[in-house]
């Protein structure tokens, strides 16, 4: 009995001591890659750009470490035939272990996106370090590397700046969409839905943007802003969709939370702003006489945000007329978006999925030709039900009397 206990203890001790902490990694040995940029080089290889955090220089993080002079991020580049190779090669230049667990942003260069992003995500999905909740964006007109160079004010980490910009604009304006890696992969594998990814634009020059002086100005020379939506087909970027049509895409995807719709009123352009506070889109698909028919119904609730014309909101008739106008406006937005997508022959709305759910047997027959044959000629019925709930603190604008 005692001998056995002794034996057990020896076994346990030797195992723990010999084990010597294989998977241990100290914080000071890690390079936290907060964003990854992906481009293609001219000879067709991958170029990965790593935006690595300098923890000591992130303001507010510490009182020590000379936060004054340094920049919060450092960029490293590496090329390789595949992503894993590029990533490992990067270690030649970084004094620490490249660590992806906090990579929250993937930036894809526009050129790269045009060639196809299909195979990019396997490494990310496979690596347990990597999170599939990382947001994906496409660098408009630029390479990903250039985008990642820019230093930003307010949110010191450029990656955070981009992510938060995207999330808040999606929430309040609704012309951009934040999609994460998992969603993109799901869309890529699905036959009835194509991915749509937000673009990011660089305003100003890279030269100015990469310097610390950029964030010391009240109006930085180089800035990043969310811009347009990329339509992908078979994993390749085929076109951009912008403005109200972009919002139409979000309406279609049921991603609108809040936004503002401006409508014309009695010859005055853009006279009334309608703030959407709640919206719900439901999509249903059916086969009718061998042809797929999709109907989209949107329900929106909101308040009046601004009125530049004399209008008495206390009159239910006026409200009713206004609602009609708003419905028309929203309807136009989504129809514009659908037309644009049909033009690119890419079902970014997932109408195919809807059909798949409602009629799996028919779907099987047509799914191979869906994007190229059926979707472009798809009949989509759009109905909108918008209602004005409140009018704010005033019921008549002060211009009313005049």
């Amino acid at each position: 009995m005692k001998r056995k206990a002794f034996f057990l203890i020896v076994l346990f001790m030797s195992m723990t001591v010999l084990s010597g902490c294989w998977s241990r990694k100290e914080l000071t040995d890690l390079a936290f890659v907060i964003a990854v940029g992906l481009d293609k080089t001219k000879d067709g290889r991958y170029m990965a750009t790593f935006q690595v955090v300098n923890p000591g220089n992130v303001a507010g993080a510490t009182q020590r470490g000379g936060g004054s002079g340094g920049v919060p991020i450092t960029l490293y580049k590496a090329t390789g035939d595949n992503l894993v190779e590029a990533s490992r090669k990067g270690s030649q230049k970084i004094s620490r272990l490249i660590y992806y667990a906090h990579t929250n942003l993937i930036v894809i260069g526009e050129e790269m996106a045009k060639e196809g992003i299909g195979p990019l995500f396997d490494a990310m999905e496979r690596n347990p370090q990597f999170r599939t909740t990382a947001i994906v964006v496409i660098a408009r007109h630029r390479t990903a590397e250039e985008m990642l160079k820019i230093l930003t004010p307010i949110d010191k980490l450029p990656a955070n700046q981009m992510i938060k910009t995207l999330q808040f604009t999606e929430k309040t304006w609704g012309q951009n969409i934040s999609v994460h890696v998992g969603e993109v992969i799901n869309d890529l594998t699905s036959e009835g839905k194509e991915p749509v990814i937000s673009g990011f634009r660089l305003v100003g020059g890279v030269q100015e943007g990469e310097r610390q002086t950029n964030v010391q100005e009240s109006e930085p020379d180089a800035r990043l802003s969310a811009d347009d939506l990329a339509i992908l087909k078979d994993g390749k970027l085929v076109g951009w969709i912008s403005g109200k049509a972009a919002r139409g895409v979000l309406w279609g995807l049921d991603k609108i939370e809040q936004t503002v719709i401006t409508i014309d009123w009695k010859h005055k352009q853009e006279a009334i702003a309608y703030k959407v506070v709640r919206a719900k889109t439901s999509v249903s698909a059916d086969m009718k006489k061998g042809k797929p028919v999709v109907s989209v119904h949107i329900g929106a609730e909101g308040d009046i945000g601004e009125a530049l014309v004399p209008l008495d909101f206390s009159d239910p008739q006026e409200i009713f007329a206004l609602e009609k106008k708003i419905q028309k406006e929203i309807r136009q937005e989504i129809i514009k978006a659908i037309e644009r997508a049909q033009q690119e022959k890419s079902d970014i709305f997932g109408f195919g999925e809807a059909l798949h759910r409602s009629d799996p047997q028919e779907w099987k027959k047509i799914k191979a030709d869906w994007n190229d044959t059926y979707f472009p000629q798809l009949e989509v019925k759009v109905s909108v039900d918008a209602s004005i709930r409140r009018t704010g603190l005033r019921n008549k604008p002060y211009m009313f009397g005049r």
């Binding site: 057990l8 195992m15 998977s23 998992g182 798949h356």
Partner: protein, 362 residues
């Protein structure tokens, strides 16, 4: 043989923990895509029928474990051989689950650590518990049962709060018809985890209130089946059927998706706790069955004398059972089900019951 007894509640808890075991982290029935819940529930119902077979046998021999009455039914020579087969089967299952467990842990958190070390630590913990006896295992179960439920419920709340569930992902139901569902049932969900309930035939003699055994075991299996179905359904609703069938641990992916209030995120530790607790009880019950089976077979008075040798053997077996993870999975799904689980979980018990029944009549 141990003289201790466990009560009905403890049996219930042990069965639930055992059935969840390592199954809750793997893509159980993922091949059935959106219909995974059907595959699990049907597997459960057939599993319940199987249990009734085992229970009938137990009623014939209420004081003997499986390895005991098998000798009585088939005679001393065949009986000894069959009993040995069952002991080896349980040991093999210990090794299999241990390997599963080690591989999962290795892939997701400890890529640089040797498999042997991870397995050895787990096995030592199991050996300690089994050395202390079934009572201790059952009591530990009672405590962790609560913990696991707290985790599951809070996890569920978080998944809902993070607005991850998309019911559309569960449609269309029965896209490929019943065939795909039944294929999954008879290749996986029936045997793992429901058919594995056969291991409890080794524990039935220890129950202090035998009248309740049937209802307790049936309700525990039903609860587990429903839980597992819910869990896999949530996985599908969050990740999509395709991603579930492709991933090694759908539950981990689901947990990783959770982002609530910018702070409740990266909750992988939930997964880890569930994995370790589930693995522990599954391995523990199998190992206990193997140990008392062997003690019964070889007339060893104190069963815990066998804990060390059998523990080391199954530890080594867990390393040797396959050379890589895909091979291990292939072995588990294609070979083990047809050549090991089916004969030992279904065919042999049914034959035993038939013989016992005929004898009773004569």
């Amino acid at each position: 043989m141990e003289q201790t007894k466990i009560n009905a509640r403890q049996l219930f808890v042990l069965i639930v923990l055992f059935e969840h075991g390592s199954t809750m982290v793997i893509p159980l029935g993922g091949e059935a895509k959106q219909d995974v819940w059907l595959a699990i529930l049907i597997g459960m119902i057939i599993g319940l029928l199987l249990f009734l077979v085992y229970y009938r046998l137990y009623l014939y021999y209420p004081d003997l474990p499986l390895t005991g009455y098998i000798q009585d039914i088939t005679g001393p020579i065949f009986g000894k051989i069959f009993a040995l087969v069952y002991v080896l089967y349980f040991l093999y299952l210990v090794a299999r689950v241990l390997r599963d467990f080690g591989e999962l842990l290795l892939t997701f958190a400890y890529p640089e650590t040797p498999l042997f070390v991870l397995n050895a630590i787990m096995m030592l913990t199991v050996m300690y518990a089994v050395y202390k006896g079934i009572e201790v295992l059952a009591r530990t179960g009672e405590l962790f049962f609560t913990l696991l439920y707290v985790l599951a419920i809070s996890g569920m709340i978080l998944v809902v709060a993070a607005k991850l569930i998309d019911i559309h992902r569960l449609q269309p139901v029965l896209e490929e018809g019943w065939r795909r569902v039944f294929k999954v049932v008879f290749h996986q969900t029936l045997y793992i985890p429901f058919g594995e309930i056969i291991v409890f035939t080794m524990l039935f003699p220890y129950i202090n209130n035998p009248k309740k055994t049937k209802i307790v075991a049936l309700s525990a299996m039903t609860l587990s089946g429903i839980n597992l179905a819910i869990m896999m359904t949530v996985n599908v609703a969050v990740l999509g059927a395709d991603a579930v069938s492709r991933s090694t641990f759908p539950l981990l992916n689901t947990i990783r998706e959770i982002q609530v209030a910018n702070f409740l995120e990266r909750l992988d530790v939930f997964f880890m706790i569930a994995l370790i607790i589930g693995g522990f009880f599954k391995i523990g019950v199998f190992f206990y069955a193997a140990v008392i089976g062997a003690a019964h077979l070889f007339n060893v008075k104190e069963h815990h004398r066998l804990v060390y040798p059998l523990g080391l053997a199954s530890l080594l077996l867990s390393i040797a059972v396959a050379s890589n993870f895909p091979e291990h999975v292939k072995e588990g799904v294609n070979i083990a089900t047809v050549y090991i689980h089916m004969p030992l979980q279904i065919i042999l018990p049914v034959l035993l019951l038939a013989i016992a029944w005929i004898r009773q009549r004569m």
